[in-house]
């Protein structure tokens, strides 16, 4: 179990697999660079990202807003009409920032210097699935996202405690309202059911007792930060997972993480995210063992995972459905083009079923095959035309935003939107641009790192043959066609 991949199996295909899964893929030059490093250094170049400078900047509003609470209080006191106007203005601001925030993060994934850190941040966002639909404060959503990033590959208990005290989470799962007279069980339940142990590994009694222990952990709306309200804390005796005493929130989380099941649960979920669905029992045992021996640290676990033979099994490589975010970010990287503007990216990801900062519920996105329906597959094919040719016709009539009024405004902005197409000269050599066979091979290497079926290759060849010359438009059509296949949806 978990033996390291032998050096002789390290090649373009395995290097591409690593970059696709531990990051968001990249053009052939980046894959070749990784391939030249050998497996140990290649994994290290992704995993030891602290050594790589991060020149990213934060949104200018990503800080506490000392006037927000006053503004909201002011609004509450005002007459009906003024109040509605003030609240609408506030909502507009938050919505605008929300769109900027999604784009800010997508840009970090697409162009940042630390792909694995962003990929882990995406994992944590799906895991602790918190939605701005309820939190309604872009700063808090950013702050939680930044927490995922700072602790992306750190210690499990430390991250859990930080999450339990994270303002967006305190609002999202109602912990902010929990006090000893009325303990709210929402966070206490989800922390065990969805975040750490899974159903069947705790009792209803554990939930109610944990909720009591967590009372007092609350949210200070004025300063937009965590606050411990001692008078709201139930300091009676509780028993959670066999541990009895005047337990605090920290005690409960420590007790949870100490369960053998906790290591199995989170390592299986990571394998599922990075490698393949439903890992075999002995594989989970081996992963959990690595994790526990390292003191529940994620970095050593990821290092073993990304080096292991199991990770490069033929049943794993190119057998994962790209998430919409992976599809979008990965496509811009291999096409070497800019991300579309913020409101377009918002529409594109939402249309494919993954609206960042707005997961459907606290369980997060189901992922895997459920990304794919007849509707979403056709949408991917049409969005490919937008990325390759700058064709925005598929956005017309699309419900970019859930709110009809906002959607109307966005549709108006679309009238004037011109998107730059991919530049064939940037991603293909002159030889590849003039020889049909070489063109198809080069595109397969860039887009799939694998071959199409013979019949598909033949169809593409026939398409190219039927055109009078191999001009830019024809090449871009060929790229879009290759992206409009079942194969391109896999990584």
């Amino acid at each position: 179990m978990l033996k390291s991949l032998p050096n002789e199996r390290w090649n373009f295909t395995t290097a591409a697999h690593l970059l696709n899964r531990a990051g968001f893929g990249g053009p052939p030059s980046e894959i070749e660079q990784l391939a030249s490093l050998g497996p140990e250094k290649a994994v290290s170049s992704l995993i030891d990202y602290e050594k790589i400078p991060d020149h990213g900047t934060n949104p200018e509003w990503a800080k506490p807003d000392p006037t927000r609470a006053d503004r909201l209080a002011e609004a509450r006191k005002a007459d009906e009409q003024t109040r509605r106007q003030l609240l609408q203005a506030e909502q507009r601001t938050q919505r605008q920032r929300g769109v900027e925030l999604k784009h800010w993060w997508l840009s970090r994934m697409a162009k940042g210097s630390r792909p694995l850190q962003e990929k882990m941040t995406l994992f944590w966002h799906g895991h602790f699935a918190t939605s701005s639909e309820k939190v309604r404060d872009a700063y808090l959503m950013w702050k939680q996202n930044d927490l995922f990033r700072q602790q992306a590959t750190g210690n499990w208990l430390r991250l859990l405690i930080a999450m339990a005290k994270d303002p967006a989470m305190l609002v999202w799962l109602d912990q902010a309202q929990s006090r000893k007279e009325h303990p709210n069980e929402n966070f206490a339940r989800e922390v065990m059911e969805l975040f750490t142990l899974g159903e069947g590994h705790y009792t209803e009694k554990d939930v109610t007792e944990a909720a009591r222990a967590l009372t007092g952990w609350s949210y200070d709306r004025i300063n937009q930060q965590f606050i411990e309200r001692r008078r709201a804390h139930d300091d009676g005796v509780k028993t959670v997972l066999g541990n009895t005493g005047d337990l605090s929130g920290e005690d409960v989380l420590e007790q949870i993480v100490a369960q053998p099941q906790a290591a199995r649960f989170i390592t299986a979920k990571l394998w599922n995210f990075f490698a393949g669905e439903d890992p075999a029992d002995d594989l989970v045992t081996a992963l959990a063992d690595v994790f526990r021996r390292s003191g529940n640290e994620f970095k050593p676990l990821l290092n073993v995972m990304f080096r292991s033979e199991e990770f490069y099994a033929s049943s794993i490589i190119r057998n994962q459905v790209k998430s919409p975010v992976q599809w979008l970010v990965g496509s811009t990287r291999i096409l070497e083009r800019e991300l579309p503007p913020p409101f377009v990216c918002f529409g594109l990801t939402r249309n494919l079923g993954q609206d960042l900062f707005a997961p459907p519920n606290v369980k997060g996105w189901d992922g895997g095959l459920s990304w794919i329906t007849t509707n979403n597959l056709l949408a991917r094919y049409n969005e490919a035309a937008l990325l390759v040719q700058g064709d925005t016709s598929m956005l017309k009539g699309m419900n970019i935003a859930p709110n009809p009024a906002v959607n109307g405004q966005l549709q108006n902005r679309l009238q004037n939107l011109r998107l730059r197409p991919v530049e064939a000269v940037k991603i293909l050599t002159e030889e590849e641009r003039s020889d049909k066979g070489k063109l198809i091979a080069a595109l397969e290497k860039r887009l799939l790192q694998a071959k199409l079926s013979e019949k598909q290759e033949q169809t593409l060849q026939e398409y190219l043959n039927s055109q009078s010359n191999l001009d830019e438009a024809t090449i871009l059509n060929a790229i879009r066609l290759m992206m409009s296949t079942p194969e391109y949806q896999l990584t």
Partner: protein
């Protein structure tokens, strides 16, 4: 089964597919392959003829989030009700009376009208043993028709497709939305999802095309599975997914590529037909403005256009009313009642109302007692509605007792298992035996 039926289905499918497709697109060999295999599979099962003109149609309407049944069909004379709900309880003056004991929520004027017109059945006190209060798990139980203690892989509608619709066009099940409901998950997956019919197609990149092959022709060829592929994986690949805002994982046993290839084929086959219909058929009733109304408008057009569909699936979210329930539920139920009323008016104008039955469900009802935030928390039993002009209108089942000694953990107790309603719909409306689909025989509750 009657072999003529299967042949008829096959011809129908090929013909409609051809007519819908581009002129240059000939019927590929893989389709013929599919049918020879499916036909032999179908030989053992009670396959139903699927045409778009005569078969009965079921529209499943999910009210996601757990609708508060107690304030939907209100026991307005009950003291326990008013004691438990001092803030949000509805009085005799407010409700739309069904009889001297229960009445509809004041926003459900649309339902009241349907009820008075003899087109709506209220089934009271629906639930299941050992109710689960998690949205996800309880939704899964409703979607898969499983016992609370059992995990079922496939959905109840998926099992209906498997058992009774083998060889059918992929549009035998149509979900309006982006994600497949888990109830469609099947051993041999059929069913499509669509959001907006205008974008439900491959949009060509070469609209000013002058010569040679078009991108659309190439797209079609590149998305046809290899010959034999469908025959091998047809019975294994799978469909499924999230339901409205509440998710369920997709079950499957083939590779991811098998699944993608099958979905790509279904998308191709269904998209031409659906767009043609949605352009040709117009709505003949005026609907309110809401997401649910938009979905039902599309369903009405697809029915009017004769899509060979047996089950449509629409959903409406937002029923998780833990805080300030009064306003939220008022808005949602108004949307519901008015949209469904407009939908039935539309079908009536088309002459299709007698072929269509609407069935609503929600994953659970809510607590009898209101909470401190003007809302209600997750509960258990709740009513269901069945709508159509072949429906026996009236009240079915018994209103659960609200007496404190009859409550279980603060929740009213169910009287009718939801699977009895499913059994009634399968046997009485879709005309198929329910036991192979629901796992065992439930006493069917027949409202039609």
């Amino acid at each position: 089964m009657n072999p003529d039926n299967s042949l008829k289905t096959r011809r129908e499918f090929l013909r409609t597919t051809m007519l819908g497709g581009a002129l240059s697109w000939t019927v590929p060999a893989f389709l013929a392959n599919t049918f020879s295999v499916l036909q032999s599979e179908a030989a053992d099962s009670a396959t139903q003829v699927v045409t778009g003109r005569d078969a009965s149609i079921l529209v499943v309407l999910q009210m996601a989030g757990g609708n508060d049944g107690l304030n939907t069909v209100v026991p307005f004379t009950n003291d326990f009700y008013h004691r438990a709900r001092p803030q949000i309880g509805l009085s005799a003056k407010e409700v739309l009376k069904i009889n001297e004991e229960v009445g509809f929520h004041p926003s459900l004027a649309g339902f009241k009208e349907l009820y008075d017109g003899g087109n709506l059945a209220v089934i009271q006190g629906i639930g299941y043993p050992n109710p689960n209060r998690s949205h996800f798990r309880s939704t899964e139980i409703w979607q898969t028709a499983s016992d609370a203690e059992r995990i079922e892989k496939y959905g109840w509608l998926g099992r209906y497709f498997d058992n009774a619709c083998a060889g059918a066009d992929p549009t035998v099940g149509v979900n309006i939305g982006r994600q497949m409901p888990q109830s469609f998950s099947a051993k041999n997956p059929v069913g499509i999802s669509l959001d907006n019919p205008e974008n439900y197609r491959f949009i060509s990149s070469d609209r000013n095309h002058k010569e040679g092959t078009t991108t659309e022709e190439s797209y079609r060829k590149m998305n046809e599975p290899e010959e034999g592929m469908v025959a091998e994986t047809g019975a294994d690949a799978n469909a499924g997914g999230s339901i409205g805002a509440i998710s369920g994982t997709t079950a499957h046993s083939g590779s991811a590529l098998d699944f993608l290839e099958r979905t790509a084929m279904d998308a191709q086959v269904s998209s031409d037909k659906i767009r043609a219909i949605s352009r040709r058929v117009e709505n003949q009733a005026s609907y309110p403005q809401s997401q649910l109304a938009t979905s039902l408008k599309l369903v009405a057009r697809l029915i009017g256009g004769g899509l060979p569909t047996r089950v449509y699936y629409v959903s409406q979210g937002g029923y998780d009313t833990h805080t300030n329930q009064v306003n939220a539920q008022q808005r949602l139920l108004k949307e519901l009642g008015d949209s469904v009323k407009a939908f039935t008016d539309d079908l009536k104008a088309q002459g299709n109302l007698s072929r269509v039955m609407v069935m609503t469900f929600s994953e659970f009802g809510r607590r009898l007692a209101e909470n401190a935030n003007g809302g209600t928390d997750h509960g258990a039993a709740a009513p269901m509605f069945i709508i159509g002009n072949k429906v026996k209108a009236g009240l079915f089942g018994k209103y659960p007792s609200l007496a404190p000694t009859d409550l279980v953990n603060g929740d009213i107790k169910y009287n009718v298992d939801f699977r009895s309603v499913y059994a009634g719909v399968l046997e009485g409306w879709l005309k198929t035996s329910s036991a192979p689909i629901l796992g065992r025989q439930f006493p069917p509750l027949l409202c039609a």
